[in-house]
């Protein structure tokens, strides 16, 4: 209540001061006007009587007549203009305080009003800042609290904000739990699939031993494919649920590329493809070595699959203050223009897809890179090869 009264006072006080200022200025100017009129008439009469003392009776009668005239009747009288006198030639050398006093009064009033308004606005701004800070903190995730001492115009707003934030928190928690349980279910399904696949593999091998059969190879191929699919499913479900535990440590790009190449060395040798990794020194970024390597392996594998035997897959890496960049390209025929927009879509199989892939490698690579604050783009080189460009941002 005291707060409200204070605020009312803050608004009313400047108005009162303004009113007082106006009244005072008016009264003062009336008095000055009267004083000046009196002084001037009296000085004029003195001069006339000094020159001709015999006309005293006549002058006093005239003065009486003038005195009985009201302000209204005097208004607009410019009789003296006949003799060449003008209004602005009168009252020469008026004392300064005649003007100064009203000006000071006016200035004081204005200052009082301005200060009042500023103080009022500052109070509002302070409250808005408090609320903004609170929302900012909630957004960062530290979830601060607002302690309110008194009730004011913002109380309702603050109350509603509290309610909204709390319900958002609840919604988020529910969503995260749902996502996690979904991912767990997926992981369970994938895991359960593994057992029959492994059992089938074993039975198949026994069967191949006992009764060699051309269809057995077919079945084995399909089983291997099923196995890969199952593993990818497990990985994707973890990435989607955000439950993939990613490390955040210094990773050297040269090491990542080399390890990716070494892990693929069997495949590279089989297809007679060489991989060229220049040593550009140590360039580090923060991320998870294993997963970024998985992404690089998928990209190199893609380049490899689209290279002719004897081809070269080239890599390059560099960094600037904003990001570290890795480029991986081949000297094959490049991407089909129709495939380019869909390259990173899950289960998308391009027109020139080879082997018995399932269209998940590039999607997986993109997900992993994006999880580590990176971007990936694909384009065709002018020389014809396909190129992947990865940027890993440092902030």
């Amino acid at each position: 209540m005291i707060e409200r009264r204070k605020k009312t006072l803050l608004l009313v006080l400047p108005l009162i001061i303004l009113l007082l200022g106006v009244i005072l200025t008016t009264v003062l100017s009336i008095q000055t006007y009267r004083k000046i009129a009196f002084e001037h008439i009296s000085a004029f009469c003195e001069i006339v009587l000094d020159q001709s003392p015999e006309s005293e009776q006549q002058l006093l009668a005239d003065l009486k007549e003038y005195h009985s005239l009201s302000e209204k009747e005097l208004n607009g009288n410019n009789y003296l203009e006949k003799y060449g006198y003008r209004a602005d030639e009168f009252c020469k050398g008026l004392p300064v305080h005649t003007f100064l006093f009203p000006i000071i009064l006016f200035a004081a009033t204005v200052i009082a009003v301005v200060i009042g308004i500023l103080a009022f606005r500052r109070q509002i701004r302070k409250r808005i800042n408090e609320l903004t800070d609170y929302l900012e903190q909630v957004n960062i995730g530290s979830g601060g609290t607002l302690i309110q001492a008194q009730e004011d115009d913002f109380s309702l707003l603050q109350d509603e904000m509290y309610k909204t934030v709390t319900s958002l928190y609840q919604t988020r928690e529910a969503a995260v739990t749902a996502k996690k349980s979904f991912a767990e279910n997926l992981a369970n399904i994938a895991h359960q699939l593994k057992t029959p696949i492994t059992a089938s593999f074993l039975s198949l091998q026994l069967m191949k031993k006992d009764t060699p059969n051309e269809y057995a190879d077919q079945i084995e191929k399909q089983l291997e494919r099923l196995n890969r699919l199952e593993e990818s499913l497990l990985m994707l479900s973890k990435i989607d649920a955000g439950t993939l535990p990613l490390k955040h440590e210094k990773v050297d790009l040269y090491t990542v590329l080399n390890l990716a190449a070494e892990n693929l060395s069997d495949l590279l040798q089989r297809d007679g493809i060489t991989i060229d990794i220049p040593d550009n020194g140590c360039i580090e970024f923060f991320g998870d070595m294993e997963w970024i390597m998985e992404a690089m392996m998928n990209l190199v594998k893609n380049c490899m699959e689209h290279s002719q035997p004897g081809g070269i897959v080239s890599c390059d890496y560099s960094s600037n203050p904003l990001y570290a960049e890795v480029r991986i390209w081949d000297n094959g025929t490049g991407f089909d223009p129709e495939d380019l927009p869909h390259l990173f879509e899950r289960f998308y199989r391009g027109k020139s897809a080879v082997g018995n892939g399932i269209g998940i490698g590039l999607a997986l690579a993109k997900s992993i890179i994006e999880l580590q604050n990176g971007t990936i783009t694909a384009y065709n080189l002018q020389s014809g090869g396909a190129c992947f460009e990865i940027r890993l941002f440092s902030h």
Partner: protein, 117 residues
């Protein structure tokens, strides 16, 4: 009695002689001479390259992690090095040895040497 001690000495000698030389496929490392051979030819390797090869040969058939290599080859000498140095050294070693198939990269762990023939 004398005969037995003589046998023991011989045994010890042959055992120690065997221990100073480690083999894996065509590769041979001689700890006494601190030298590396591929077949009959000696290969000149640098100090850290030799250390890495020695650790891998001594643990033939077992996987040695990158961390272990970093700690044993560099940290013991008081130098701090990063992943990059190990990768570069490993790559050079592989090139000098002609990309041997008996030196495998074990995904997510490190490296392992093992006879392939």
């Amino acid at each position: 009695m004398a005969q037995q001690s003589c046998d023991d000495a011989l045994l010890r000698k042959s055992k120690s002689a065997k221990d100073t030389k480690l083999f894996c496929d065509d590769l041979m490392i001689d700890k006494e001479k601190t030298a590396v051979f591929c077949g009959q030819q000696e290969i000149i390797v640098s100090q850290p390259e030799y250390q890495i090869l020695l650790i891998l040969m001594e643990n033939k058939g077992k996987t040695v992690t990158r961390r272990q290599l970093l700690e044993q080859v560099w940290d013991s000498t008081g130098n701090y090095v990063n992943d990059n140095t190990l990768t570069v050294t490993m790559k050079r070693l592989r090139e000098k040895l002609g990309g041997p198939t008996c030196l495998k990269t074990v995904r997510s762990f490190g490296y392992r040497m093992g006879d392939t023939k």
